[in-house]
């Protein structure tokens, strides 16, 4: 039973890894624009936005509110308009090629991992409970006790291995899967 669980878990890791690797290579890396010194030099090909101060004027003699042009298909970050949107889960109103959260593979991966979490949690706890029942019914038989102990230890090891999936996916996917909502 536990052997099967472990094999299933490692298969799941392998499959998601392959699916994500093929997707990650297709995703573009954000080119971030840095703020030039203010006022903006004439003839600048890029227009920068500077946030309004509390008195309603633009800071540092920057006269015009303009958006960054060189963000490509990533777009401007809605929370900080001086920056291009970063590749990640916090993006809103973008296409699936620029927003990880809207990527169908990532979305399905989340659903899959969430469902898998519930199943694995229940199965691991059930295994620990079965080990406990085995322990109770072992009487004074030392081999039966050690079998029960081994079952419990295996269940805990399987749980720890499953937790490593989260770290692995977070490391594998640029921008991360499990940050943000």
């Amino acid at each position: 039973m536990l052997q099967k669980l472990k094999i299933t878990l490692s298969l799941a890791v392998l499959l998601t890894g392959i699916a994500v690797l093929s997707q990650a290579s297709a995703l573009a890396v954000a080119n971030s624009a840095t703020d030039p010194p203010c006022p903006i030099p004439a003839g600048s090909s890029v227009n920068y936005l500077h946030p309004k101060a509390s008195d309603g004027k633009y800071q540092d003699n920057c006269v015009e509110q303009k958006t960054i042009k060189n963000c490509g298909n990533l777009g401007v970050d809605p929370s900080d308009k001086t920056k291009c949107q970063t590749l990640g889960n916090g993006c809103a109103g973008n296409t699936e090629s620029t927003c990880l959260a809207k990527n169908p593979i990532i979305r399905d991966l989340r659903v899959f991992v969430n469902a898998l979490s519930g199943i694995v949690g229940v199965v691991v706890v059930a295994m620990i409970m079965v080990g406990g029942i085995q322990y109770s019914s072992a009487r004074d038989n030392a081999t039966a006790v050690s079998a029960a102990r081994k079952r419990i230890a295996n269940a805990v090891v399987a749980l720890i291995i499953y937790f490593l999936i989260f770290a692995f996916l977070q490391w594998l996917i640029p921008g991360g899967v499990f940050n943000g909502s």
Partner: protein
């Protein structure tokens, strides 16, 4: 706290040996109305967790029964040992083992409810 989750307790709980039913923790939407107990819609994998929790609940009952029976058997063995120190040690060890097994099951159940509380609040 969403109390509608526990609305299924309106149904008659406890069947054979007061085991919980597999549908004990299904949400209200699984039943055709809140007063009857006929389960009409079970969504997979959404309700898998609730069914799994019911299975864990059953396992707690099984563990309790096993531990009690084992302690009774070991106690009878203890009484029948009549000064035979080997039999006394064996009976004592089996009592200790059954208590340890019950403690493991209870700790697992407590761990689950602990994690569940964290997940629900955080």
């Amino acid at each position: 706290m969403d109390l509608s989750f526990f609305a299924s307790t309106l149904c008659e709980r406890g069947g054979f040996l007061s085991f919980p039913h597999w549908w004990a923790y299904l949400p209200d939407s699984a039943f055709d109305n809140s007063t009857s107990c006929s389960v009409t819609t079970v969504s997979i994998p959404g309700d898998l967790l609730a069914i799994g929790l019911a299975v864990l609940d059953m396992l707690i009952f099984v563990a309790g029964f096993v531990a009690v029976v084992m302690i009774i058997v070991a106690g009878i063995n203890y009484m029948l040992a009549i000064g035979n120190s080997e039999k006394v040690t064996s009976a004592r060890r089996s009592i200790i083992n059954s208590i340890v097994g019950l403690a493991i099951v209870m700790a697992a159940a407590a761990f689950v409810s602990f994690i569940g509380t964290i997940l629900r609040n955080g």
